[in-house]
Symmetry: C2
């Protein structure tokens, strides 16, 4: 482990300090949900947490630094997404169920953490390696499992050899992430959640197995 939590100037944080730090993170998280990333100011976060800007700078170098912490917290939870895919069978009815549950779990996770995920996505797209790494951490858990699934099916001759497992898995996961972060958009556009999910599951199934699902 990395050891204790430390302040910017090197002191180790005690009980009270950690509580303050966490409160700042929570408030930052709330702010990200309610206002554009660009407009989130240190002073607002501090005010909301009932403390002063100076205190904020004791624990984080800047807003971005704090955002990275929030993202890291979420990434830990996100690692649990592996459970949605690993050890699943992609054959027959089980395959369709696997696809459905993957979509369900993925969209749900994204909806619960949409604000911070938006920012992580932006950071990653802008080429910031720290954000990119966090995004990987979350997505890899799913992507790797899917990659393995495709490789497995390929080795059994059930999937064409010219499919690149990594590219396919990555594309599918990127799709899920994108649709998840624009869920509201789809609704305004006249597509209901209820019809969105089966279609995503269908695409996932088609992508992994190359075949229509048995329902």
């Amino acid at each position: 482990m990395t050891g204790q939590v430390r302040t910017v100037d090197g002191r180790v944080a005690g009980r009270r300090g950690q509580a303050t730090r966490q409160k700042l993170l929570d408030c930052l998280s709330e702010m990200l949900s309610s206002s554009p990333y660009r407009d989130v100011k240190v002073i607002d976060v501090a005010r909301k947490a009932g403390t002063s800007p100076a205190t904020f700078y004791q624990y984080f170098p800047d807003v971005e630094g704090a955002v990275l912490e929030v993202a890291e917290e979420m990434a830990k939870e996100g690692a649990g997404l592996t459970a949605l895919v690993s050890g699943r069978s992609w054959v027959g009815k089980a395959g369709w169920q696997a696809a459905e549950e993957l979509v369900e779990g993925f969209l749900d996770f994204w909806r619960r953490n949409d604000a911070i995920l938006r920012v992580v996505d932006l950071g990653a797209a802008e080429g910031d390696k720290r954000f990119y790494k966090i995004r990987m951490k979350i997505l890899n858990s799913v992507t790797n499992s899917l990659t393995d699934a495709v490789k497995d099916l390929q080795s059994k001759g059930k999937v064409d050899a010219d499919v690149s497992p990594a590219a396919m898995a990555g594309s599918l996961v990127a799709m899920l992430a994108a649709v998840a972060s624009h869920q509201k958009g789809f609704q305004t556009w006249g597509v209901k959640q209820a019809e969105l999910k089966p279609n995503l599951a269908l695409l996932v199934h088609l992508g992994i197995t190359g075949k229509k699902p048995v329902k």
Copy 2:
């Protein structure tokens, strides 16, 4: 048409004014490519354009306002993406070609405009209707054509009736957009452009027709 370009305080902009305005937009566009959205400041844009912040505020209410203009410009170009899909046949070899060219054209457009598209995506995800509308304008041209394609195949009984054309088209387009904006990410992850494209085309073809392509 919207008529003449106007300054914030209501004057109509003349030849020189429009040139300055455009220069500011160009410089803003460059800044978006080279630094994080959050760090783009009016003063930097103005300096880069060889003018003063005050001039910037003559033409735009704030950075966001100017970004919307840049996005609008790009959206006009983006409307041309329709050509990639409309009037295409999705049957047999022509279908595979259609999928390949769609992917190719889409990724290319995204790569050329990645900086501004990132910001539009963020704005849309944050629920800003103005950004959302612009995103629609670009994607609709493709999405609608794809929706029609699916509907057409459905009416001929070539695609299952329980597929929702809009949801399917929307998901595919979202996937293309997502993969496009994380192209660099894929590369770092070990997936090459060359294997990415065919896989995307495969997914598009599978999604639209429900069948493996004839190459």
